[in-house]
Symmetry: C2
Subunit: 220 residues, 2 copies
Amino acid sequence: MAGVPFSPEDSRDEVPEVVVSRLPQYLRILNRLMEDGIMVVSSQQLGEKLQVTPAQIRKDLSYFGRFGKQGRGYSVRDLLDRLRQILGVNAYWNVAVVGVGRLGRAIVNYPGFNPDGFHLVAAFDINEDVIGQDVGGLTVHSLDDLRRVVTERNISIAIVAVPVSHTQEVVDLLVACGVRAILNYAPIIPHVREGVRIRNIDPVLSLQSMTYYINSSVEE
Amino acid sequence: MAGVPFSPEDSRDEVPEVVVSRLPQYLRILNRLMEDGIMVVSSQQLGEKLQVTPAQIRKDLSYFGRFGKQGRGYSVRDLLDRLRQILGVNAYWNVAVVGVGRLGRAIVNYPGFNPDGFHLVAAFDINEDVIGQDVGGLTVHSLDDLRRVVTERNISIAIVAVPVSHTQEVVDLLVACGVRAILNYAPIIPHVREGVRIRNIDPVLSLQSMTYYINSSVEE
């Protein structure tokens, strides 16, 4: 893996998960700075954009090596290159979708995955009526074929779009078949064993962060 | 609005948007502490859970009044009550869904909104074939009826699930009709005028925060 050429002293196991979950936001901001032709950015400036203290920025980034020098700021390009490598953004990922009901079909047709290197290459369902059907260019497989297809297509990521009642069971099966990262759309938080990652799409968190403003202005 | 009974000195306009977007996470953590019977929490402990510095925690929470005392920690119950008020979590919100294709139908049937006070009360589409149909118990209206229905049903929040090519246009229409907060599922970032809030469901950010780990372990 050519992902991380420098800083062999990194011990990635020690990077807290919430720090990792913030990195894509850094990536977006740095991409924007790069587009705007900005070459150097301070932890102060990054902190203003993310509304965290400069010390927090420095702490987050310190997990991944030594960037920039005290008082001179970070090179936008270096930081961007490094974050891209760390996050595997330049890589090509094969992704499976489990559940091809309304939501699963919407996911298969979502145009946002491909440009960022996430390629939906297989779809699965338990419903006999849809197995064998074509959904957005993918043949729907039975879950019985999961292990074989995951291995053959080198799938390390799965998107789960099944009802709450089946979510944990499907997640367990994916993990047993070697899937390492799961994006879950059901409104529960499934358990996974250590070493497997899961993220939950949670639209309620987004809604709650907006009701603040509606509350606020009603008062005025 | 009985939302914020104390701290009349708050000037909410000055709270940075990214701080507000972190508040639902505080809420979840505090709910969990409360369930575990924990009465007092320090900024150090909250910082460990969110992996931010204690200073960052104190700074975030200081926007909303004075909680706890130096060296004595925060009362979990007081902080929770305050955040619930601030975020309008105890309120009841009427929500419209625009676009009842695959994704919109999945959203209408999503069981996660209702328990948190978000009630989907109206659905809209531009497709003549679906207008008048029943989708998950909601009659699909024409967008021509948007203004009337938004007013009649006191709708302040909309969820947009239309193709990228129509997203900005629909967002503009919603704003023109008085909607104040929009949750967008299309993979673009629509523009809204000041005073209107928008959040984008971005599954790619979630995926990117997991590829770190796959990258990482391939190296080992």
